[in-house]
Symmetry: D2
Subunit: 369 residues, 4 copies
């Protein structure tokens, strides 16, 4: 069933022949803070893989952690590794045994490379595969001119999706996964934490049919972005009570659900306190350290449900996201505050660290703005 | 815990004292076609009941059946009975043991009076109570100046919901119940049959987060109303293939769900054929008679689910509907094509029979337009 | 539809006429530790109520808290109040407006008296009603010769259910509710904490189709009862690692679910650690105080779900429990270690406090053993 | 990550070297009724495949259809093809790129070879893959000495599962999939049709926690097998009313669910009629032709759900089945009425056609009884 025609084979060889052997990339070169832009080999396109010319790539909070070399990074990252797990690219080579893609197509990528053998993988729950390896974390990623990815991880990106949006499907998928973990339609939901995924979640929840979406943060800059994402109310928790505002905004009924994007203990506790009986808190934001709850009041007596959320359902989340974007119901462009050359990676990191950006999208070397 | 104050008791008495003893009503007076406008006693307000001054009432397909005296009506209706099961009214008297309502409030009504004792009622499934009695069918309804209803059936109607919309919450609830019987958010759905409930369902599915909603019918008039409800595509099945159009509109993927509002055998078969594997058909439209399916191709081989839908979940559906309306996400006004005096009931029936109306709302005697 | 015949009315009057005006009861008489056996008035049987001659009553951990007058009790209990929220009785009087019960019937009772007006109540979630009052806690309960209960709270108890079992349907319902909060059939589950509800949960999970049920505790006495309830393995967590044993018992796969009955922080953390990715912990045991979790490792990275569980679904849980018991699939008699006269209430409390009992059932004055 | 050691490679070669080049097999040799036992080449073990020495194989109703050359067979089967889609074998060769299996292991097999690219496959619903090819139907199957199967389709069979049971995991999975399509625990279920999958379903439903399982058929032989599978009641629908018996057996409540295994129109209609409001009918039996329903009475007014069921969830169903079998909760041996040499395939077909067998298991040439 391999549809490769001789003509296509020819074009493959040609493109391979004319392609440079090395490329520029943002590399975590050694154990310690920082990252450097280096000349590295263009990756080979193995069996089952696609080689992509990277068109745009998003910077994630995880990249900040790796750049800052925090404890998690020290345990997980094995330098040298090319960073970048959010990107869109054009297919420039199709590996052996890959039948469903052709050179020239534009694809976004799922960053989780899963084992396909564990119980989770074998039951449609690859997002919690026990043996996940992540592009840009465990294997070379997309902050580079080229990246090789498993064809099963590639997602065809239709032309009506703006290229900056196509670059950030991976974190957008986190927001979709979190929202879709419980009821949305007709619900009153809150998003706690207005970093990029939180901002995405506002748009997702509204596009997916929430009656009202409230958003909380302490940063005026982020709250302003939340307003641009059309949150029905924004709550500056440095100035007002989250629980009280939510009760008021819901006519005393309480929230149907909380999409927790901050990892902040107070946000989690307040989110649970603001839930109606039987509500859900879907928990994506990673806390910096363990924290306690008053389980009786916040979880048990009110029959609340807490979902731990990681990654994206593979690939149910991608279909949902695709439908929301391609139908025009979801527009996340207000969250993309900066588009800049990948060469200025360090500047992007500084912007994010300073809280002066929503989502930052990078343009690799040789790509036009 | 009865909060009734002497003052309130007083106002109750007063209103009772000054109220007329008789009223005009649309009555199914005897076994046979038609209905007549009669002077009948104002209903008493028993324990647990509210007496409402009817403000607006909707005409339903069921009213046509009763008017036409079809086989179902002959078996079910015991004349004389005042018709009308969709209405909004103002509370003019509060019965004994009712603590949560006060004179002057505006309420819509659930039409199903349930037994509270059967298994369905005792497990939160009162919409399929085995002993349901229906206002305007089994007991006197709302095509009248006044109607007495159980307080548990009353639903507070906030001021920001237009009165014509408040009048048709009951059939709107059918549409919400049908849509919410399966996944909506991010889905590609079709509504088959664009009578009033089908038209409502288009709006509901879009407000509740469907990616795209397609609508089918054979009446240009109804398809035009479907466009006004912002269907993403309308399909005139007298002229084109439903299955083929749906495949095309979904990029060959097939529909995620069908909201079946016609009861038409071809619509059901085509709806199932157009479903993707694993999709759902939620079936509200009542077929006129039994009809067959190719179960293997349409249901079993594709792992489809068929839901029988009746009534509204009591009162989960009402909360969902309330949230969609009160947040402004759902606007069903384009479906209400006629608002006319209740005195002209026969004319309303004729309009509906001729397929020249969407939803018709009646204004009782003594109410202003 | 009132089925009361004159004959029945007559028998009602007779029984009322001959009944004593006072009775013995276990009463929390004043703020402070202890409880006393007192002569109090036989309760009146109000409209919508049943008056029961108590046949058997179970002692619950909550009764220990009230007896010991802990902080929760100090805030909640308003003495004097007759204790006892688990019981079975015979109907001796039927209140006005009650149509579905007759004198002579045997009924168990749901202890939660709910408001029927809040959102939870109106959407089939009365178990998390915001205005719940509890028999034997907020209103007079069943540690007495007679108790008056709302007829809606009464559950007909068929003759093939032993009377001691019929006495403890209320806490058994907690176990059923916890188990049925997630998948059971074919699952590997653990019950953490082998107090009476934990012991019930072992039997419930097995009867409801779990593949294997493991049970943990630190008390050899309780672990022995767990064996009698046919746990597939018992884990003495004072001597061995819960997580390691569960991994071994599941062939390294991890648990599908944990039914948490202890409220113990270590049990909760170990339970989450032993879950497979995507598993659930259903949390009924009340922690004494807030405690922390490593949310990242225990909840988020593994996509776990935590359910807060309280009470019983009204009345879905009762139907499930009824089916399991009446079909003979579930036998909880091994958990009932003591049946003793209610007169010896203080002794029952001492047995429970010393951890020398499973479930203790009391026989009221005048009832035969 | 390829764990192949030189020693293993060696053993592979040796086994290949000494293996015969041809084998006996039951082959559909040409378009028309019947099948013949032939000498055919031993299949090659391609990349991603396992070569199995078949130990036992089950005969299915589908084999009867193919043998009888009915309309479905005429359209689907492309002779010559080796029949047999239910079997257990020993791994004798491991194909390239297969890392998780080793020579000598015993495996059962999923018969559906899926595309992994369609929407269904990409969302964990491979059982309704649009491009499914079936072993023994579309590609050579297991009625032979050897069979080559995709390694992803192989399921490790633990030693405590009897070899005849391991042979019929595929149809047993149909029963598990049907039962697990809706609530089981604590439910009153009926199985309509007591062919082998229906008989399996009785055992599955009981092991998975149904309160009571009733079984219907018209064959005394099959009803006797249903009794051996411990059905709580058997209903001979040639002699008594299914609906009336079910109402009586459930105390007038109606069934919670029906597992439809017959494809018989009367069984489907009676099954729906016997459901309680809100119940489900999970529909696996393939009707011979389209048939009609009174949709209003049987589906809509009672809020029933109908699930079309095909295949097995890949591989969730296999885990559930594995847990039920390996824990000892499920014993399907009473359904296996005949174990006979594969050489006597025609005799097996005759037995099944005559209704004188439950499940028939075949022993390939060279295997010991």
């Amino acid at each position: 069933m391999n549809p490769t025609t001789p003509a296509t084979s020819e074009s493959r060889k040609e493109s391979t022949r004319t392609r440079a052997r090395t490329m520029r990339a943002v590399v975590k070169a050694s154990a310690g803070p920082g990252a450097e832009i280096r000349e590295v080999p263009v990756p080979a396109c193995g069996p089952g893989q696609l080689l992509l010319k990277v068109k745009r790539a998003g910077v994630c909070g995880t990249d900040l952690h790796i750049h800052g070399w925090d404890r998690w990074s020290q345990e997980r990252i094995k330098p040298p590794v090319t960073l970048g797990h959010e990107f869109v690219g054009e297919i420039v080579e199709v590996g052996a045994d890959v039948t469903e893609f052709q050179v020239g197509g534009r694809v976004s990528c799922e960053s989780h490379i899963i084992c396909n053998h564990c119980v989770a993988c074998r039951t449609g729950n690859g997002h919690v595969c026990e043996n996940t390896r992540i592009l840009g974390v465990d294997v070379n990623g997309g902050f580079a001119e080229y990246v090789a990815v498993p064809a099963v991880n590639a997602w065809r990106s239709p032309g009506n999706i703006p290229i900056e949006v196509a670059a950030v499907m991976e974190p957008l998928g986190n927001a979709v996964h979190t929202a879709f973990a419980g009821p949305i339609s007709g619900c009153n939901l809150a998003v706690t934490g207005c970093g990029p995924i939180g901002l995405f979640a506002i748009g997702v929840a509204k596009a997916a049919g929430a009656a009202r979406v409230f958003a909380s943060d302490i940063s005026p800059y982020r709250l302003d972005l939340a307003r641009k994402m059309k949150a029905d109310a924004v709550i500056d928790v440095s100035k007002e009570s989250f629980v009280e505002r939510c009760r008021e905004l819901t006519g005393r009924a309480g929230l149907d659900g909380v999409l927790e994007m901050s990892g902040n203990p107070t946000a989690v506790r307040d989110g649970l306190a603001a839930l109606r009986s039987g509500g859900r808190l879907s928990f994506l934001g990673l806390p910096k350290e363990p924290f306690d709850l008053d389980w009786n009041q916040l979880v048990i007596f009110k029959g609340a449900t807490i979902h731990g959320i990681i990654g994206r359902r593979m690939y149910e989340t991608w279909y949902q996201m695709h439908n929301l974007l391609s139908s025009g119901r979801l527009d996340i462009r207000p969250t993309i505050t900066h588009v800049m050359p990948m060469e200025r990676f360090d500047e992007a990191i500084e912007l994010l660290r300073a809280g002066k950006a929503g989502k930052v999208v990078l343009i690799p070397w040789g790509e036009e703005e």
